[in-house]
């Protein structure tokens, strides 16, 4: 059955004249509708924001997504093998491919009730945390560009290159790895990887401090970001925000700790939350600093994981054709750099998944955007979009 698509006119929440000055008077201006995107430097991809502005003040934002929709879920249903879905997961959140692979692999492993060897668990943690640093580096770097600071962006990309080099020596690819497989890894890390990873950890700390000096605590930057786009904790939870977006609002929640997977419980590290150091809790600066501090924590985790890396096999004994029981289903969530990345996998007993739903953190985090950007300025909207750290590949899937 094909139903006619219903086109509902866009509702504008604020009426003309509803924006008031600090003294409570209305400002007599007309509204203008501007399209920010789909090709705009600060929408971080092909996102289109339909903005209703009153002067430079935003009355309403209507995000339009789907420009990068590649039918991930449809593709997944048409694979002949569960394993074939992994490369598509890579392409969802293309700046954090390792985490995506792990998320899907974990969901299938839970359905099949497979235990993976300890070396796999440790290597997955190392890869995921390296990827988290790489992803956060892109996030904070591009956020710097949104604020007009170009230099920190190139610094972060310089450091990201080191991580990509590590990935390249591991699996030959620099962006889309297809490394974490169901039941294990595609292959073991090459000799010399552990040393290089250790070297990176000692290299990265001072660079992060340098980055903080030039951007994070810069007076102009703080003034641009503090008290902007405040996302209160209750709204954040209600809109199911996750990751740095949720923690920036002061909610102490991290799936690595609160819904454990992998071997995260074996390491010493802390969940970072926004404390409202320069403004209200949950502002753009808080979301930003959470990412910066998470990178430090990730370095800590990597150091411990590398030190404790056990020897062993990198592939569990799994059937060549994975056929989970008919009717079995699993929703498994992992903490990707952007937040809760969930895969809902349903099986009908055949070799291909019956239904795969990917719950992209950026998709959900973006849905709160209109809530927190009304009444701010266009420049603030740029800051809010930047701090939400969306990857359109994952929003649109």
């Amino acid at each position: 059955m094909i139903t006619e698509p219903r086109i509902i006119p866009t509702p504008y929440v604020t009426k003309p004249g509803a924006i008031r000055t600090s003294t409570g008077k209305t400002i007599r201006t007309d509204e203008m509708i501007i399209n920010m995107g789909p090709q705009h430097p600060s929408t971080h991809g092909v996102l289109r924001l339909e903005i209703v502005v009153d002067g430079e003040i935003i009355v309403d934002v209507i995000p339009h997504i789907g420009y990068l929709h590649r039918c991930f879920e449809k593709h997944a249903e048409h694979m002949t093998n569960y394993q074939q879905v992994i490369p598509y997961c890579d392409r969802m959140d293309y700046v954090a491919s390792m985490n995506n692979d792990w998320g899907f692999a974990l969901a299938v492993e839970r359905m099949l009730k497979i235990e993976v060897p300890p070396r796999v668990e440790y290597l997955r943690v190392i890869m995921a945390e390296l990827q988290r640093i790489a992803s956060h580096l892109v996030a904070v770097g591009t956020f710097g560009i949104d604020m007009g600071a170009f230099t920190p962006f190139l610094w972060t990309f310089r450091d990201r290159e080191k991580i990509l080099d590590l990935f390249e020596m591991t699996c030959g690819a620099r962006l889309l790895y297809n490394y974490i497989w169901i039941g294990g890894l595609s292959h073991d890390v090459p000799p010399g990887f552990v040393e290089k990873a250790k070297e990176f950890c000692s290299y990265f700390g001072p660079k992060l401090k340098e980055f903080n000096d030039v951007l994070t605590y810069n007076e102009i930057f703080v003034r641009r970001t503090a008290n902007v786009g405040v996302l209160p904790p209750d709204v954040a939870v209600n809109f199911a925000c996750s990751g740095p977006m949720l923690r920036g609002s002061g909610v102490n929640f991290d799936l690595r700790r609160d819904d454990p997977y992998g071997v995260y419980d074996k390491f010493e590290w802390e969940v970072q939350v926004g404390k409202g150091e320069f403004g209200k809790v949950g502002d753009v600066w808080d979301r930003f600093i959470v990412k910066v501090r998470e990178m430090e924590q990730s370095v800590k985790i990597i150091e411990q994981a590398v030190a404790a890396l056990p020897e062993g096999n990198v592939q569990a004994a799994i059937p060549k054709r994975i056929r989970p029981d008919a009717g079995s289903e699993a929703y498994v969530r992992t903490e990707s750099p952007r937040g809760e990345l969930g895969f809902y996998v349903v099986s009908d007993g055949s070799a291909s998944p019956f239904r795969v739903k990917a719950r992209g953190p950026a998709f959900v985090n973006l849905s709160v955007l209109p809530e927190i950007s009304r009444g701010c300025m266009i420049a603030d909207l740029v800051a809010i979009v930047g701090s939400a750290d969306i990857v359109l590949g994952e929003v649109d899937r």
């Binding site: 560009i145 600071a149 230099t151």
Partner: protein, 348 residues
Amino acid sequence: MQEYLIGLVGEPLVAYVLMAVVPLVFILVYALVTLYMEMKVAAHIQDRVAYMRTGWHGVLQPFADILKLLQKEDIIPAQADRLLFTAAPFFVFVGTYVGFAAIPFSSGYVGADLNLGILYIVAVSSIVVAGLLMSGWASNNKWALLGSLRSAAQIVSYEIPSALAILVAVMIAGSLNLNEVSKFQEGGIFNWVVFGGPGPVVTKLLLTPFTLTAFFVLLTAGIAEANRTPFDLPEAESELVQGFNTEYSGMKFAMFYLAEYANMFLVSAITVCLFLGGWQSPFGSFMSGPYWGAFWLIAKGMFFVFVQVWMRWTLPRLRVDQLMHVSWKVMVPFMFVCIFAVGLILVW
């Protein structure tokens, strides 16, 4: 110089044209140098190497860039106002270029030795504002319009603190003629207006805090008027795409670029002439004279151009309300206090 040229070529008209061409040649050469410098400085700040292939360390790259810009297709959007769209870059460039007429490059070369030199520069810069508005409106693009309105509002706002800061130097030097102001600061670095100008030590000490404030205000306001970071809101690429020059390409875009670079030097040169001795040598009579004068002015000017480049690649950008706040609620009151104090000290 004028008389010399008239004597040389015989025909006054030709001499005047030659006089007018000298700054243009200077701007073109300077723009190439600055283009190279900006890219290299940016690269070193950002931990990379920039141009390395064309010529030794890529010195020929600016020429290649200019050639590339000149060859590019000149696109005029279908909905644009063709006449104004074409005219705008010229207004913007001319507004900056005519300002160079009053800059004393050395004791021997001033394009036009105007009695009201500095006032003239401030006045002609308003042509730039009109040109920017023209470009934004003619592009028929909302982002461009927003950018040009922002830009105009910014330049108009920052003209006030900069004019007040200029007034401080003018009050001390007692002239609006930039050449006279430069002459006034004779006798080494401590006779510069930024240190209170030549005069008794007590007056100098009293004046220095105010002149220093005025100097920094003038420099900051100058950067704002040149639309450079951290005041580059009109072309803030993260918000307004490219602001008023979003729709421009090829030669016209090059024109905006040239105007921006020329403006960077112009504001630096004004600051230098008013507060840092203009063409005067910092060592008194050592290394002074007409030729050294040109060297000193350009060297000092280039230093501040370098400062602007340095700031651009280091600082984030202000928000539009913060920008206005800085101008109206911080700089203007400070400058009023400075003018009042300087007036009192001078009369006393």
